[in-house]
């Protein structure tokens, strides 16, 4: 029982990371109907932005690992990733918007390869030790909890879950209660009608890329707090898992992405805990295939009819 709960806790904190990355996939898909293959690499860029900025920002916040310093690093990485996302959209995807979808998809794969290999060129191919921006240690649970006090919960896990919850609520507020959010929803319902109603399509698409990439950047920092080893190829696997999460939840559906991320994280933890770590990736991909065959619109998505 306690072991099962422990796997749930581990899975939940990994799932929060997947949820943050999956948001970017799902938001871009909602607006442009296209899978941004390079999104997982934005997450890697976020981790490296933190890696290079942390020493200076920590010194600015009074030196040593601290909450204020960690928050600064998080914000810096999010800002840099937002800029990177907007730039990539502007240079590589916008000129191709009228082209067949295959062309855009291939361009996205090209951008992804460029970030991965450019990252290996610029940052070095070997894994780097991420600086300690917050003291990560296990929390002593009160003995009065009985059996549950045997659970291992770390400060890092609490921060990951807390930050994810805050970011998700903020995103929800933006999408539901601002004019830009309304424009985003309009665009995902019907791009042509939205632009006829005066929605500035390009600005909304840029904003979507900025928000999605910022979430991925945050995920990069939050991962690095828990597993302080980062490398330029870390985005491939995480990106694919997050994509599976987005599909599982229903691609284009924002709460679905969060739900899918958490479910995939927990599934992975259970597979690692009870079956074998070597089966983790194949089982996640098998889930993807089963979802696409049985319910292509995902858990929360609405089926979409194909128009000629």
């Amino acid at each position: 029982m306690i072991e099962f709960l422990q796997q749930l806790v581990n899975g939940l904190s990994q799932g929060a990371i997947y949820a943050l990355i999956a948001l970017g996939y799902t938001m871009v898909f909602g607006v442009l109907r296209f899978i941004n293959f390079a999104h997982g690499d934005i997450y890697m860029i976020g981790a490296f932005a933190g890696f290079y900025s942390a020493p200076k920002l920590l010194a600015l916040a009074g030196g040593g690992p601290s909450f204020a310093g960690a928050a600064l690093v998080l914000v810096a990485a999010m800002a840099l990733c937002a800029a990177a996302g907007v730039l990539i959209e502007r240079v590589c995807y916008r000129p191709l918007r009228a082209q067949p979808r295959l062309t855009v998809l291939i361009a996205a794969i090209g951008v992804s390869l460029l970030l991965e290999n450019g990252g290996q060129f610029a940052f070095g191919a070997d894994p780097q030790a991420f600086p300690e921006i917050i003291a990560d240690s296990a929390i002593d649970l009160p003995a009065s909890w009985g059996e549950f006090s045997l659970l291992t919960i770390t400060v890092g896990q609490v921060i990951v879950l807390g930050s994810t919850a805050v970011l998700l609520l903020a995103l929800r507020a933006v999408v539901l209660h601002t004019r830009t959010g309304m424009a985003m929803r309009a665009l995902s319902l019907n791009p042509l009608a939205a632009s006829l109603m005066g929605v500035n399509t390009d600005a909304v698409v840029s904003f979507t890329f900025a928000v999605g990439s910022a979430m991925a950047g945050a995920a990069g920092i939050l991962t690095a707090i828990q597993q302080p080893s980062i490398d330029p190829l870390m985005g491939i696997n995480a990106g694919l898992k997050a994509f599976v999460a987005a599909v599982l939840g229903g691609i284009g559906n924002i709460p679905g992405a969060a739900l899918g991320g958490v479910l995939i994280g927990i599934l992975e933890a259970l597979v690692v805990g009870y079956i074998s770590p070597t089966y983790r990736d194949p089982i996640v991909f098998a889930v993807l295939i089963v979802v696409l065959l049985v319910r292509p619109s995902g858990l929360l998505g609405k089926p979409e009819r194909e128009k000629v």
């Binding site: 899978i35 590589c92 082209q99 951008v111 290999n117 991909f285 295939i289």
Partner: protein, 317 residues
């Protein structure tokens, strides 16, 4: 005798003639030549799936892995005494096993289009790799070795000639029109009474079969195979060949396969010239950066690929 068949016989004769001299070539160049042949097989077969039928597949290395492991497993089981006939049947069996895997991927693809299909094929490729990594009889994480080196110049390029002949005649037949119809407009094709399901699955099965043969050739050339050698990045290598060559152009894709096999070796030698500025040498060592920039720039400026509509055989009507 029709012209393509004459060309095929001529190509086979050329392979036989070439194999007489292949023993006297520098082993390094011989190595590159065989890899060119294997890459042509992979690129031409993926081109059938992506270029002609318009089904984006990112799992081609998975089919190659199935062919490589099945044929290697068979020749190892038969022992070192097995001759070339056993080798050929193992190659064929590897192709059939890969075709079965292609069927398994092709069937779910009926319901998926474009981006989704790309991810699903990627997932299948990773699943195949994952299964091999867990299969003890196939060496699991340690890799599989001990095959005799059966693959030589003749067998490689005979396979290339046969595959290109087969793919070209297929593409120029009624089936070929079916493939193109599915690629150009699936809904319209369906409305015209074309069995799109049949063509999509057929493209996957044939493409996987040829990739499986290429895997078998590879396994019996390198004499050691490892699951990591058939990863997502290997699939991307093949996709790059198809994109640069020009989707749907068999000749362009084969040319791209040759160029992209030779280019890394050339770049490697460039990085040895001390008189070149250091950044140029470093960039030459990172060929993937060049490839990725090339892909993005190509998509922005020339989506039909470097060699565009270059093709073997008859002119299209």
């Amino acid at each position: 005798m029709s012209r393509p068949r004459t060309l095929l016989l001529a190509a086979l004769a050329l392979c036989a003639a070439g194999s007489v001299f292949s023993g006297s070539i520098n082993p390094y160049y011989h190595d590159i030549l065989i890899m060119i042949g294997i890459n042509i097989l992979l690129a031409a077969s993926l081109n059938l799936i992506i270029g002609h039928t318009g089904q984006f597949s990112l799992g081609h290395a998975g089919f190659m892995a199935v062919g490589a492991y099945s044929s290697a497993w068979i020749t190892i089981a038969w022992g070192a005494s097995a001759g070339w006939l056993a080798y050929l049947s193992a190659l064929f069996a590897g192709g059939v096993a890969a075709a079965a895997a292609g069927l398994a991927v092709g069937v779910p693809s009926l319901r998926l289009r474009g981006d989704y299909l790309a991810i699903v094929t990627l997932g299948f490729g990773e699943i195949i790799k994952g299964v091999i990594q867990n299969a003890e009889p196939l060496g699991a994480q340690r890799g599989l070795g001990g095959m005799a080196q059966h693959t030589n110049f003749f067998w490689t390029f005979a396979c290339v000639a046969l595959a290109i002949y087969g793919i070209t005649t297929l593409v120029h037949s009624t089936y070929g029109s079916g493939f193109l119809a599915v690629r150009d407009d699936e809904i319209a094709a369906e409305a015209m009474g074309i069995n799109t399901t049949k063509y999509k699955v057929l493209a996957f099965v044939i493409g996987a079969f040829v990739a499986g043969i290429a895997g078998g050739l590879y396994a019996h050339f390198k004499q050691f195979i490892h699951p990591e050698g058939f990863s997502f990045l290997r699939s991307v290598d093949i996709v790059v060949m198809v994109i640069l060559g020009g989707m749907g152009s068999t000749a362009g894709v084969c040319l791209a396969a040759v160029v992209l096999t030779v280019l890394p070796e050339f770049l490697r030698s460039v990085s040895d010239y001390p008189w070149l500025p250091a950044p140029v040498r470093e960039l030459a060592e990172n060929r993937m950066i060049l490839y990725s920039i090339l892909i993005v720039v190509l998509m922005l400026t020339r989506p039909q690929g470097l060699f565009g509509k270059l093709d073997f055989g008859r002119k299209k009507p």
